[in-house]
């Protein structure tokens, strides 16, 4: 295995594009090293991105959104007051990843690019309408997070392309988001179901909403029907029931060691309801 530590994204992209065998980027390494250890993925070239200047930065963009460096670990997101105030749901999704120790390393970009349908930070990013900035051999482009995963373990990135930043839109007023997952234990499990809700209020009424589900289909789902079920409501009981029904109906899960399909479908509705309640309360001004 060759270890590279380029100092620009352009170099990283160039090394990746030129590599012949199995290539991996190294952000926090909490997926890469596990796969290396188990022998599932033995890279020929490993490209460490953490020496690239600026990858640990979290910065406000000109329009009031946020630009997050690709090496920022979960713990640093959680420690950033401004980000937590604007996007508590995105932050809590990432903070659910692994243990305190894993939080010291694991990144949003790694979580996204590893391509697990159960990745905890992804539904929150999708609900938030986040985008990624991609650097490739041909230059840079931008892509909605929702379009990055294309299947379990697969992304829309082409050979040599590397994510160079995660971009969150401006939050705006009277808005809130939340992410909840279901796991059998209290910690240290992979999500059986994950649900993120981002919404904006007009008075007490939901004016806009986005609902995203994880671990219930080959990729993260943005469920328009679930959002429609609560838009125009004050999240009364019938809106909640409609949300749960729409969320459950959108699921296309599998039975596996972590949960049955029937359970995932049922609990997706429950998680969506509970996340919507938290997002709603946050939009009304409850602190995260």
């Amino acid at each position: 295995m060759r270890y590279h530590s380029p100092s620009t994204f352009e170099d990283a992209a160039r090394i990746a594009a030129a590599a012949q065998g199995v290539t991996r980027f190294l952000a926090g390494g909490t997926d890469v090293l596990v796969q290396l250890r188990s022998g599932h993925v033995l890279p020929d070239d490993l490209i460490d991105l953490k020496k690239i200047p600026g990858t640990y930065d979290i910065a406000q963009t000109e329009d009031g959104g946020w630009r997050i460096g690709i090496a920022v670990p979960g713990a640093a997101l959680g420690a950033h007051a401004g980000l937590c105030k604007d996007w508590p749901g995105v932050v809590e999704g990432m903070e659910l990843v692994g243990s305190t120790q894993v939080q010291g390393r694991a990144t949003l970009a790694g979580n996204l690019c590893n391509g697990s349908p159960a990745a905890d930070s992804v539904p929150g990013l999708v609900a938030a309408g986040a985008t990624v900035e991609i650097t490739g051999p041909e230059g840079t482009r931008s892509l909605p997070v929702a379009e990055v995963p294309v299947g379990p373990g697969k992304t829309a990135l082409t050979a040599g392309e590397v994510i160079s930043a995660i971009v969150l839109p401006p939050r705006g007023d009277k808005a809130g988001d939340a992410y909840l997952r279901f796991i059998p234990r209290t910690e240290m499990d992979i999500a059986v179901v994950g649900a993120a809700v981002s919404l904006r209020l007009d008075g007490d009424t939901i004016a806009e909403a986005r609902v995203a589900l994880g671990a219930v289909a080959p990729t993260v789902l943005l469920v328009a029907e679930a959002a429609e079920a609560i838009v125009g409501t004050t999240l009364d009981d019938s809106a909640m029931d409609a949300l749960a029904a729409a969320a459950s109906a959108a699921c296309n899960p599998i039975d596996d060691k972590r949960g049955t399909a029937a359970f995932r479908i049922e609990v997706a509705g429950v998680m969506a309801k509970r996340a919507a309640r938290i997002a709603y309360d946050r939009a009304k001004g409850a602190s995260a």
């Binding site: 295995m1 270890y3 090293l33 460490d48 120790q101 240290m188």
Partner: protein, 160 residues
Amino acid sequence: MSKIHVTTTVNGDEVEFLADPRETLLDCLRDKLGMTGSKEGCGTGDCGACSVTLDGTLVCSCLVLGVEADGKQVGTIEGVAEGGVLHPLQKKFIEHAALQCGFCTPGILVAAKALLEQNPNPTETEVRYWLAGNLCRCTGYDKIVRAVMDAAADLRGEAA
């Protein structure tokens, strides 16, 4: 496979070693530097027995490559007692019988120390969630949590 020369600081001492890029920091600490206090319980980030600090951040050393430690500050269990004086956590672990087999103990002490450095007055729930990545199969965690809370009180200068 060519090896890479790594210079790093472990518990304040500068050390050097040659690492195959596939070797983890845990492998390097244990097999190259003879610092076997950090344990491998899983090698996949699930048990916390390998906990160390890297530039002050708590991490699993099994999830860090040895080559990534270049130029960094590593803190291990061997550095928790300073100048032969036990850290209050170490004293309280012995006093409360917070270890049975003791295999999880180094990782838990390193993790608990990191907790108390950033939160001197944690609640029981905060201790339990902070340590959720440190598996202990012997104790049921009861005495571990008590020892951490008691050490925190001690460090705050309060009598338990």
